[in-house]
Symmetry: C2
Subunit: 147 residues, 2 copies
DNA sequence: CAGCATCCTTTAGGATACTG
DNA sequence: CAGTATCCTAAAGGATGCTG
């Protein structure tokens, strides 16, 4: 079966439903979804806006993620039947309600990820708060504790 | 409505802003990772504990996700060289620091997901109010707005 | 018990040509 | 302009047998 052309994605499994965390993650976990939501938080956007603003996204994926977000009631879409056509995407109230969540995730990333944001002065060693800089592609050689 | 899409906003900032979110999501985005982290939040656990506690996870995936979490410094692992062997997983400080994030995600899921937590009385439970109950499996007959 | 190794299925994501 | 259709790659996830 090909679910690709379906307007929404497959049903959420029971296990996922039992975990609110996974439920939320399912909605915003797409590769570009948080970016889309973030952009929409600054105001309505058109399809082409995303295409231009999000570097590296393909049209198919953009359309797909927008569709999923819409199916999940996180964003609204209005298609003006003009010629040439014009679309307008905006956040639903539900989508807006995600803001604190995204912010929380964002803050953690800033704080513990490889971003030097709170490093205003002190050109010396930044090691005070050196982070592991999670690197999964290159697995940091890490000795295993054995007892 | 609005004429131009370039709107009020420099693109640079957006790019910077989205990254930390995806970074965080990368670390906790695994199918079972948040469950693992959640369980560890209640105390150290062994490999078999997870196997038993998490319904439906395969050993390979469990081992894999544990390994990734460990590589990302979110959890610690101690392998006691006894016979039979015994393992003990626990949260690192970094892993513990995720608690507010997970909580935030969790709360949103509870509040807006398909969980019927009808708060009976309580006048004001934090902020906001209503909940649309997102439904993904049955694509609610949702007509497209056309203008 | 802990957890690799091997094999396989499913899903996400992508490039590109084309249409109303 | 706003998408679909078609085809493809990569990565995530899974079942199961085996070993120290």
């Amino acid at each position: 079966m090909n679910a690709d052309s379906s307007s929404s994605h497959p049903p959420i499994e029971q296990e996922l439903l039992e975990c609110p965390v996974n439920y939320t993650l399912k909605l915003i976990g797409g590769r570009w979804k948080t970016i889309i939501l973030w952009q929409l938080h600054q105001g309505p956007k058109r399809f082409g806006d995303f295409k231009r603003a999000i570097n590296g996204i393909s049209e198919r994926i953009l359309a797909k993620q927008l569709k999923e977000l819409e199916a999940d009631d996180l964003i609204n879409k209005v298609l003006y039947a003009e010629v040439p056509p014009r679309s307008e995407y905006s956040l639903t109230p539900l989508g807006q309600s995600l803001e604190p969540v995204l912010k929380s995730i964002f803050q953690w990333g800033i704080r513990y990820g490889p971003y030097f944001v709170d490093k205003p002065v002190s050109s010396a060693t930044s090691s005070g708060g050196d982070r592991p800089a999670a690197n999964r592609e290159v697995n940091t050689t890490k000795e295993k504790k054995r007892v």
